[in-house]
Amino acid sequence: MGVAEYTIKRTIQAVAVVYVVATVVFIAIRSVPGDPARLILGGDADADAIAAMRRELGLDQPMYVQYFRWMSDLLRGDLGESIYTGEPVIGRIVGAAEPSVSIAVVGICIAMAVAIPAGILSATRQNGWEDYVATLVSFLSISMPAFWIGIVLILVVATRVDAIPSYGYTPISEGIRPWLLNILLPSLAVGLPYAGIISRMTRSSMLDVLSQDYMQTARAKGIPPRAALLKHGLQNALMPVVTVAGILFALLLGGIVAVEIVFGIQGFGRLLIRSIERQDFPIVQGSVIIVSIIFVFMNLVVDLLYMSINPKVRYGGES
């Protein structure tokens, strides 16, 4: 199978997966007990008003009509409106995304900056004390809930250092410094477990590369170890790390949602939790769909990138 053919096949599969997810969400939301019309109007609304609201929302239509209308809205990027504020769902989600994306990106940057050197050190000094320390710290960090790290950071850092706030968020448009100070602790909380995973991966990938023939050859040719490591080793070792780093991006979600709650940040997580509490289902279903689209296509891009960097990987491979 050629590259183009493979790309097309995988893209169609990805679209199909998202379609099924959206359909399941449609069915699931309609299984939720309670009438959205009654939710909007409040408990003491009279029957006529509720009937009128049901008509307005299209809930009096047969299920298949609702389904087609919902799907065609979805295809046009219309995820409906919030039950409470009437704002478009997509606008609410995009509006709440900035703090969440900031935390994710800064968290990943911190994690990579710490974890990749730690992993390399761990591999090149295998079974030395550096390796043991790095291994212990990595295992500790992957064993901590991100939100708990956040609580500990508030207790240890924010209550002592005045410059670092423990609460809220400043948009990046109001200056890099206040923005960064505000998201520093949340990013650390999200990034630390991530760093543990990346450093373990870097270590095992690096150990793998160090035992390869071309590294032996480089050594035999008299290339200094450091140069061989940088030129041949690192490039090959980091490839799987970077691709997995991409997939893990999606896995950060749970951590980010809880960390936002800890730091009182009005991001995507807050929006989500608040929408559930208020039974604002259009926002909940919109969030599920958007997150799965990001999930599926991120994975697709990572896969395709991996294949294009490493032609040895078989197209349509068995895994």
């Binding site: 901590m144 373990r200 709650i261």
Partner: protein
């Protein structure tokens, strides 16, 4: 001859071989000893909570937010919470739910995932395609949002948490099982078993599955650790069990707003989560070394 074939022998033999490997792995490795020790202690504390816990976990009869104190009549080794309940007792009862939910969820995910993977890998063709696309769909649902939707539909309960986490792990088990099956399927003894008329079902369960067991055990361990973190996150967010249920995540969440007055309410359950998850992770890593398994690397 065909009727004399007892597939159970093969299964037993392979399983015993695996167990011997397991024992060897555990006996020499400090990581495994630490991990097993931690898990055993916490499991015992959870099982024996009604016997061992010093107080009723629901009784609100003590001083409010008493700091940890080991001696004296008002001794609460881990302090009390904002309702005057004994934290140690709550933590011991909470361990039942936190450990039970994690083990239950991963077992359920394993049951479904392994079945799907076996069937897909062994059947091949369109069945394989269909099942693996289903697995793709389960994978594409963010677990947190699955949990949230379940709570929205069915209300708060322990089962939502179990189902949401199990759902998230189906794809891990299915993919590993399938890829193991694909490599085992071509072995000669499978062809031999087919020739003497062993049914597909028996071949799958008695010949193929035991040989795929090593990576599955490793994956199981790693995912139990991850499930504990997921459970604590859900309870913390209030998406999981009822707020009155003392899971470790929920206990931690209740102490969050009181961090400056009563650090122990959120810090101590957190430390216990970390120790438990660390123990399971180290044990899993030791198993991975012993079985020489590549999969499940991403913790």
């Amino acid at each position: 001859m065909a009727t004399d074939h007892r597939p159970q022998d093969g299964w037993l033999h392979t399983s015993i071989g695996r167990l011997a490997q397991l024992k060897q792995a555990v006996s020499g490795d400090p990581k495994a000893i630490f991990g097993l020790g931690v898990v055993t202690v916490f499991l015992l504390a959870a099982i024996l909570a009604p016997e061992l816990a010093p107080h009723d976990p629901m009784a609100q009869e003590f001083g409010i937010m008493d700091p940890p104190r080991i001696v004296g009549i008002d001794a609460h080794p881990l302090g009390t919470d904002s309702y005057g309940r004994d934290l140690l007792s709550r933590i011991m009862f909470g361990a039942r739910i936190s450990l039970g939910v994690s083990l239950g969820a991963v077992s359920l995910g394993a049951l479904v995932g392994v079945s799907l993977g076996l069937l897909a890998g062994y059947s091949g063709g369109w069945i394989d395609d269909l099942l693996m696309r289903f697995v793709d769909v389960t994978w594409a649902f963010p677990w947190l949002l699955v949990a949230i939707m379940l709570v929205a539909i069915f209300g708060q309960s322990v089962w939502n948490v179990v189902f949401a986490i199990a759902f998230a792990y189906i794809d891990d088990f299915a993919r590993i099982t399938r890829s193991e099956v694909l490599s085992i399927r071509e072995e000669e003894y499978i062809a031999a078993a087919k020739n003497i008329g062993v049914s597909d079902r028996d071949i799958m369960l008695n010949e193929v599955l035991p040989n795929a067991v090593a990576p599955l055990i490793v994956q199981f361990t790693v995912l139990v650790a991850r499930a504990m973190l997921a459970e604590s996150t859900l309870s913390f967010l209030g998406v999981g069990v009822k707020p009155t249920t003392p899971t470790w995540g929920a206990l931690l969440g209740q102490g969050r707003g009181l961090i400056e007055q009563a650090w122990w309410i959120s810090i101590i359950p957190g430390i216990l989560i970390v120790i438990t998850v660390l123990g399971i992770n180290l044990f899993g890593d030791s198993l991975r070394d012993a079985f020489d398994v590549q999969q499940g690397e991403s913790v």
